[in-house]
Amino acid sequence: MSELIQHPALAHHFDSLEQQKEASTLGMWVFLVTEVLFFGGLFATYLIYRNWYPDAFAAASHELDVTLGTINTVVLITSSLTMALAVHAAQLGQRRLLLIFLVATMTLGAVFLGIKSVEYYHKFAEHLIPGPGFQFEKEPVHVRHAQLFFSLYFVMTGLHALHMVIGIGIMFVMWWWSWRGTITAEYYSPIEISGLYWHFVDIVWIFLFPLLYLIGRHA
């Protein structure tokens, strides 16, 4: 039993590593619930305005680059795969593989952010930043409601990107811990719960992509 040999990672107030792992996993899940509701407020706002101004949203959405959006979706889903494989490697105690997959995940995350900043730069150059300088030359009738769309676009993708940045930071710490040897086949729950977070961020994008990029593309 665990009382005989105290594992170095076991905190004093837990009885066993088992209990500690269950607690931290549950903790991360509960945290993700708050994240769902956090983005939920944005999705509610989006839903209402898209329902009110479908044409303006379609027109504004046409300003986004589907190709870059699709590439980013692929990049992010691939990073989820590498994350899942990292957890797998951690479970089996394959330290070298674990390090490789963590680096892959971080790299893909960085690629995503890079592409995202290119897109942001384009929007900036095209005066599509909401506010006094906003211009919507293509369909001037939609200039006001297109601002709503772009306000939502920037806040939604911006907060998503912020979560990615934090995710990459977490991955870096995980890489450090794995490299140092803290992570073992017995104690890998940090990798697992970081993975939960990473996958969640992926899921947010899975919704953002069709909602923002793919409105009325046939027109």
Binding site: H13, V30, G41, H145, Q147
Partner: protein
């Protein structure tokens, strides 16, 4: 009076003395005390604003402060009291101290996170205090758009940021409690052996975790609209200000239950302990907490009956609001029934409990007036609503908070306070409270709108009564402050169980050791099982006469 009890040799308070031992502590009991210092401070800050408000309203013309200042006073009173006192008060002070002890755990599941919550709370408070001292905030605690985004010239951004930050403290506390209650219970402590305090904190934590993120994002949107002229709620770009109200009340109505549910948990403990019998209908009271937490999320639209939402939405929110009244009524009936054939002591905490039940009943029943949509049209945004929610928050939450503080004070400090002074101040608070807020029901029905700096002269008599009550109430709050501080140094040692109550917290020393119990308790009894405790351990009760 036999007074042979001594403080234990080793306890959490003497486990280190330096500032560092407090500011870097991971002990949930010490963190609870850090919160106690915080919420007490902000309570008196918020209270000072209340004093000025009531002073101003003694005359109809608005001659004490300018209208601009008055608007800032009620805004900052609301912000301080709601976000920095009422929401954290019971969960973060009493809950923090008691949740692990009551379930037989050594600490919360995430002690570092718990300490971080306190720092986040203080940083949020710092932002808000900064907003206050550098000119104040005049949006009302509700931040309604477009006033808050395009019209107000006050410090909206720092105040909003402060509330945004403090929200995370609330989320992390809720998260910590949920995980702790699920994963850290002592052997034998099954769900239906948990004290009702734990059930109510579990329900509260659910609301904190599910509701707070929505206010966080809403406030962020307000800040973005104000700062970068992004449009979300601004009619100028086709936005809907009513949407802000939906998102705001999705959190802020359940937030009322964040304030009252833990108070209900305290009352269940008090009634059981001072009647020395099990709470009547334990499982109904427990599930009523969960029912309130769930139903509480379905009723937010009753704040918006006149705000321009659809008639049909108003009706749905109205009927759902009535449903949430049922579990609250069930609780009141069960507490009352608990007193039947009890051994009812009249010690201070019980006085608070009795006061709570009475005032909460009035607060709850006047809630029916507001849920009834046809009547709400007349009374909403008047002093009726002010009276109603002060009956819930001050008559309910603060009464329970003080009752709980008195009940567990011997556990927290290891010492007894002056019982007579305590009884006296409980009475003063009860009388002062009613004199302050009861006239406001009448004022509200007469039509005096809330947030008015000056008012028609015919409302003066009732306003003067209310202000007179407030001065009594203010004194009532200062007395406990004095004798509780006094007891810290001069109070008699309490011994492990001064009330003769059952519950795990009364089986350990007062104050408890850092790890709460010398050995992990094994629970074989139900909550409030006075009968078998007496049968097995006659010595539980102090031999006082």
């Amino acid at each position: 009076m036999a007074s042979t009890a001594l403080l234990p040799r080793r306890h959490y308070l003497n486990d280190g003395y330096g500032v560092k031992s407090w500011l870097l502590t991971r002990d949930h009991k010490r963190i609870g005390l850090l919160y106690l210092a915080g919420v007490t401070f902000f309570f008196f800050v918020g209270g000072a604003f209340a004093v000025l408000i009531r002073l101003e309203l003694t005359t109809p013309v608005g001659d004490l402060v300018t209208d601009e200042t008055y608007n800032k006073l009620f805004t900052m009173h609301g912000v301080m009291m709601v976000f920095f006192f009422l929401i954290p008060a019971i969960p973060s002070v009493l809950g923090n101290f008691l949740v692990p002890i009551m379930i037989g755990a050594k600490d919360l599941a995430f002690p570092k996170l718990n300490l971080a919550s306190w720092y986040i709370y203080m940083i949020g408070a710092l932002f808000t205090m900064y907003a206050i001292v550098t000119g104040g905030l005049d949006t009302g605690w509700t931040f309604y758009t477009p006033f808050s985004t395009v019209s107000s010239t006050s410090n909206v951004i720092p105040a909003a940021l402060g509330i945004f930050i403090t929200g995370f403290s609330s989320i992390l506390t809720g998260l910590n409690f949920i995980v702790t209650i699920h994963r850290m219970r002592a052997p034998g402590m099954t769900w239906f052996r948990l004290p009702l305090f734990i059930w109510s904190h579990y329900a509260t934590s659910l609301i904190m975790v599910l509701g707070t993120p929505v206010i966080a994002i809403t406030i962020l949107l307000v800040a973005a609209e104000r700062l970068f002229h992004f449009g979300f709620f601004d009619p100028a770009v086709g936005g809907d200000p009513v949407l802000f109200q939906h998102l705001f009340w999705f959190y802020s109505h359940p937030a009322v239950y964040i304030m009252i549910l833990p108070a209900m948990g305290v009352i269940s403990e008090l009634v059981a302990a001072f009647c020395r019998k099990p709470v009547f209908g334990y499982s109904f009271v427990a599930f009523a907490s969960l029912a309130i937490a769930v139903l509480g999320f379905l009723v937010w639209g009753h704040h918006m009956f006149v705000a321009g939402q659809s008639v049909y939405a108003a009706l749905i929110f109205s009927i759902l609001s009535f449903l949430v009244a049922i579990p609250s009524a069930v609780k009141v009936f069960n507490w009352t029934a608990t007193m039947y054939k009890g051994s009812v002591s009249w010690e201070t905490p019980m006085l608070y409990a009795i006061g709570f039940i009475g005032l909460f009943t009035i607060g709850g029943l006047t809630g029916l007036f507001l849920a009834s949509v046809g009547l709400d049209v007349h009374v909403t945004d008047t002093y009726f609503i002010i009276a109603h929610f002060h009956y819930i928050m001050v008559g309910g939450t603060i009464m329970a908070y003080l009752g709980g503080l008195h009940y567990w004070w011997p556990k927290i400090s290891g010492r007894l306070y002056n019982e007579w002074l305590a009884k006296f101040s409980a009475l003063v608070i009860f009388l002062g409270f009613n004199l302050t807020f009861f006239p406001q029901f009448i004022l509200g029905y007469l039509g005096m709108p809330r947030r008015y700096h000056a008012y028609p002269p015919e409302f003066q008599v009732l306003n003067v009564l209310s202000s007179a009550g407030a001065s009594i109430l203010g004194v009532g709050y200062l007395i406990p402050m004095a004798y509780l501080m006094w007891s810290l140094r001069y109070g008699r040692a309490a011994g492990p169980n001064p009330w003769g109550a059952v519950g795990l917290e009364w089986t350990t020393t007062s104050p408890p050791p850092t790890e709460n119990f010398t050995e992990t308790p094994e629970v074989t009894w139900d909550a409030y099982d006075y009968q078998s405790t007496v049968d097995s351990r006659q010595s539980t009760f102090p031999a006082e006469s």
